[in-house]
């Protein structure tokens, strides 16, 4: 009964936030669907030269063709796939690495904690884009794995900070003191008490970094250090299209518009998840 009421309230918080949230929710579902089923949905492969150059939109080429005669519509659908996988992968990497560091720093006092937290501060003081540009050069080829790692490493530090803060807060709690008093081992305390209590915040952070990661990935690809062409990442499509801005502006504008929509949609959904799961994080992320 109470749970049902709570569920109802949560659903209201989630969907009662206005038209924007509903639209963004639908967009995210659609985006994921397209990302997964891109090969089935698109008529051409993204690297296939299938028509004349710079065709205007028509029934066959919904968004026209690009400078090499590739179908822009298919490329954008495959681009969704790249963005989705890259953001999922990098957020996951950031989550795992950041949480681990945060737990260690939070649990151990003194030198270890100092080194980890100051390292985190150091990473955070370097602009994210510049850090990931340098990191990207560690890899010869800009594939989805390397980009995932690069962005994941960049996102890691914000996870470390949040988890560290949470653990410090929890340490004061009576049940942690009690667990120590009854002689539970360190690992038991970390895995049984600290980690589960971080879950709500971590889920929130994860959804909120997804949008962030998509934006970073597209910026990297735009600068030519992300996904290597001809793989169709939205950022590199914008950068290629920029050359033909005067002639055919849609080549640059269109993929960028999808970056905008996707990042906004993920951010709005992330806000919704936060308000349901962990409203305390409001303003902190």
């Amino acid at each position: 009964m109470i749970d049902k009421m709570k569920l109802k309230k949560n659903l209201r918080v989630l969907f009662g936030r206005g038209v924007l949230s509903v639209i963004c929710g639908i967009y995210v579902v659609l985006f994921i669907f397209i990302a997964i089923f891109a090969p089935l949905l698109s008529r051409y492969t993204p690297t296939e030269f299938c028509g004349s150059k710079f065709l205007s939109p028509c029934a066959e080429f919904l968004f026209g063709t690009d400078a090499l005669g590739r179908d822009v519509f298919s490329r954008i659908m495959y681009g969704a796939r790249i963005s989705f996988v890259a953001s999922l992968l990098s957020s996951a990497i950031g989550l795992v690495m950041g949480t681990t560091l945060g737990l260690i720093a939070g649990y151990f006092k003194g030198f270890v904690s100092m080194v980890i937290m100051r390292f985190t501060d150091a990473i955070l003081s370097i602009p994210a884009l510049i850090l990931s540009m340098v990191l990207a050069l560690l890899f010869k080829e800009g594939g989805i794995l390397s980009v995932g790692f690069v962005i994941g490493f960049t996102l890691m530090s914000s996870y470390t900070r949040v988890v560290y803060g949470l653990v410090l807060g929890m340490k004061e709690n009576d049940y942690i003191v009690a667990a120590k008093l009854v002689g539970q081992s360190k690992t038991a305390i970390i895995f049984k008490h600290f980690l589960p209590n971080c879950f709500p915040s971590l889920i929130v952070m994860f959804t909120m970094t997804l949008g962030n990661a998509i934006s970073l990935e597209s910026s990297l690809s735009f600068l030519g250090v992300g996904i290597t062409p001809p793989t169709p990442a939205w950022g590199s499509m914008v950068s290629e299209g920029y050359k033909y801005l005067v002639m055919k502006p849609s080549l640059a504008i269109l993929p960028g518009l999808f970056v905008l929509l996707t990042v906004v949609a993920f951010n709005v959904v992330g806000d919704g998840v936060r308000d349901v799961l962990d409203p305390r994080l409001k303003g902190k992320l």
Binding site: K9, R12, V13, G16
Partner: protein
């Protein structure tokens, strides 16, 4: 006939949220005579604080809204005043003291800054004069070394001291009515008694009136002259303290009395808590709101409208229960 200082008539305040309308104050009427101390008693969430915030017109809107009613202060309807007139009423005519002294003062300004700011809002005077009035007010509420204390920040003072500062503001501005919302709940027991004595002393010596809002029926019986008992946004019983204590009519009031320790001399009487919990104000049951928790309910209690207040004795003793006087229980 005593002169009424403030009279609230049929006040209705609701909050509108995604979950629907929350009727926090539902047709509440009460009055306070000049020089009188009146208590409003009820469990948390019964609307007693919202009633006072409505009187002060401090309800956040949205989501809250005062739907109807009158608040007559010396004959003037506060709800009809302009925003500015009402603002100047607050602090000067009616002072309000809140439950949380620890957070009720702005952490980034000194006591003196905050006290003299209020004084300068209500009196035309220089900074220096306001400061001196402030020092005097602090002295009036027994704060030691008031000159030094004026330069302190709130975090440098204890909860009891901060509550005294808030009382000092009321003293300095010569308020006719003090509304004290759980003024001592957040303090420790010894400080509670001191602060309460101070308040009573000020009310009595300066001829003020006071409304004490509290959940603790036992506490108020010592000094309140009349008591209003609130439940689920309505007043369910009102009368002199003596009538409420010795001759309660409403089952809820009786329940409250049984759950308060040390009221009866017979120490063997066990404390009996009221079973269940108050209904959600967003989702009030039909009939009497207390019926689901009431031991004496009958079919009639569960349907129709909520029972009206009916006079059940002399001295303005009212109760809102279908069984009032009809049948003993």
């Amino acid at each position: 006939m005593m002169e009424k200082l403030i009279e609230v008539k049929n006040l209705k305040t609701s909050f509108f949220s995604l979950g629907g309308e929350v009727k926090a104050v539902n047709d509440v009427s009460f009055h306070v005579n000049k020089g009188e101390i009146v208590a409003i008693v009820g469990e948390s969430g019964c609307g007693k604080s919202v009633t006072q915030m409505s009187v002060m017109r401090l309800i956040q809107s949205p989501p809250g809204k005062i739907l109807s009613g009158e608040v007559l202060f010396e004959g003037r309807d506060l709800l009809k005043l302009s925003t500015k007139e009402m603002r100047l009423f607050r602090g000067s005519q009616i002072a309000m003291i809140f439950q949380e002294p620890m957070t009720s003062l702005n952490p980034v300004y000194t006591i003196g800054n905050q006290v003299s700011e209020v004084i300068r809002t209500h009196f035309k005077c220089s900074r220096k004069e306001a400061w001196d009035i402030g020092v005097k007010a602090l002295r009036d509420v027994d704060i030691p070394e008031p000159e030094l204390r004026m330069r302190n920040y709130p975090f440098e003072m204890s909860g009891g001291m901060r509550q005294r500062v808030l009382i000092a503001i009321a003293v300095a501005c010569n308020s006719k009515l003090i509304i004290a919302d759980e003024p001592t709940t957040a303090l420790d027991v010894t400080t509670q008694a001191q602060v309460m004595d101070l308040l009573l002393n000020i009310v009595k010596t300066k001829g003020k009136s006071m409304i004490v809002v509290t959940h603790n029926l036992g506490l108020v019986t010592r000094y309140a002259e009349r008591i209003y008992v609130m439940y689920a946004g309505r007043i369910v019983e009102s009368g002199t303290t003596r009538d409420i204590l010795l001759n309660a009519k409403h089952p809820y009031t009786k329940g409250l009395l049984k759950s308060v320790p040390d009221l009866y001399e017979d120490k063997d009487v066990a404390l009996i808590p009221i079973k269940g919990s108050p209904p959600s104000l967003a989702n009030l049951p039909d009939g009497c709101a207390f019926a689901p928790r009431c031991d004496y309910k009958c079919e009639m209690c569960l349907t129709g409208k909520a029972p009206e207040l009916v006079q059940v004795g002399d001295n303005e003793h009212y109760s809102a229960c279908l069984r009032n006087g009809k049948e003993e229980f």
